[in-house]
Every structure is written in C-alpha cells, then in structure tokens.
Symmetry: C2
Subunit: 99 residues, 2 copies
C-alpha cells in the first residue's frame, strides 16, 4: 500500500469552501482505500489529508481523473500553500485490509 | 469526529515487532472509525499512526480497554520515543462517514 499525510493551508476565510471541494472530489477513485479530510483545530486555515492507496500507481492515476482534475483546478485559487507532505507505507489497521 | 496523526520511533531493529503489536491491538475498539498503521519509508525505525474516532471520549475510553492496556504494556519496551502527535477534526472522506 501507499500512503500520504499532507497539510495544506487555505487562504484566510476559504477553509470551509476548500473542505467542501475536497470532500466532493474523493468518490470513485480506483484503488483509494482511505482518504480522510480534517480540520486542524489549532490553525483556522489548515487542513490535514491522510490517504491510503492500493499502490503508488493508483494515486498517480487518480490525478488524471476528470473529476479530480476539475477539483484541483477549482481548489488551487483557494490554497495558500502546502506545509508538508509525507509518504508512508501502510501495513494495516482498522478500515483497510492488512498487508 | 476526533483524529490523531502521530509518529513514533521503535528501538533499532524493533519496528516489525512493534508493528505486529499495533496491528493486533486495534480490533474491537468502540467508536474507532479508522486506525492506519504505516512504516515511514525514509526512516527505518519510524511508524506513523493515523486515527479517526467518533469522539475524543471514544479514544480516551479505548486506552482503558484490557486488550489495549496489555498492548501498550508490551509495546513500551520497543518504543524509543514519540516524535509528534497532532490532533485533527475529521470532516469526512473515503472510509469514514461524512459529518
């Protein structure tokens, strides 16, 4: 499996709009086992996204899906920046199959 | 919902043993919606754990479950330290209900 833990920052006042876009665009992505969108309670502009994919290739392919490309285009004007992005190798747990 | 993103570090050579313990102890936790255990591919001793709970109270209560207490006791000698722990407020996505 392939995982990502990322933090992005919305422009001031745009977090709710960005969250809605992110939630709308996460259905129907082949190989996506988990994609959790969360607010950072300590930073009113920050969003955490934690992802689990069957493979790195599944994640890469998702970026070419029309719905995802459209969501990225709509989201970019709302995003002030990306604070961190960490790759992981999920091995199992609740909500995903064990390796 | 209540979320946690944490990084822990195993003593050298103990990551696999610690991963197995973590995976064994994550079943049957009331209110646990997602609990993903992952290796850090850039650090051979590091483990990432990303959690989603129905509530902060569900997470707190889980720490008192006999199976979890037993796993913590077994895991502590394998853990060199905790690098970071971030609280989040999950709002939805793939694999968990939308708020």
């Amino acid at each position: 499996m392939f995982g990502l833990i990322g933090k992005m920052r919305a422009h001031p006042g745009k977090r709710e709009e960005l969250l809605a876009l992110l939630l709308d665009s996460t259905t129907g992505m082949p190989g996506c086992l988990s994609y959790v969108v969360a607010k950072d309670p300590a930073d009113r502009d920050a969003i955490w996204i934690t992802e689990v994919w069957n493979s790195r290739e599944n994640h890469k392919a998702s970026l070419q899906l029309p719905a995802v490309r459209s969501a990225i285009a709509a989201a970019m004007p709302l995003i002030a920046g990306f604070d961190s992005s960490i790759e992981t190798e999920p091995v199992g747990g609740v909500g995903i199959p064990s390796a």
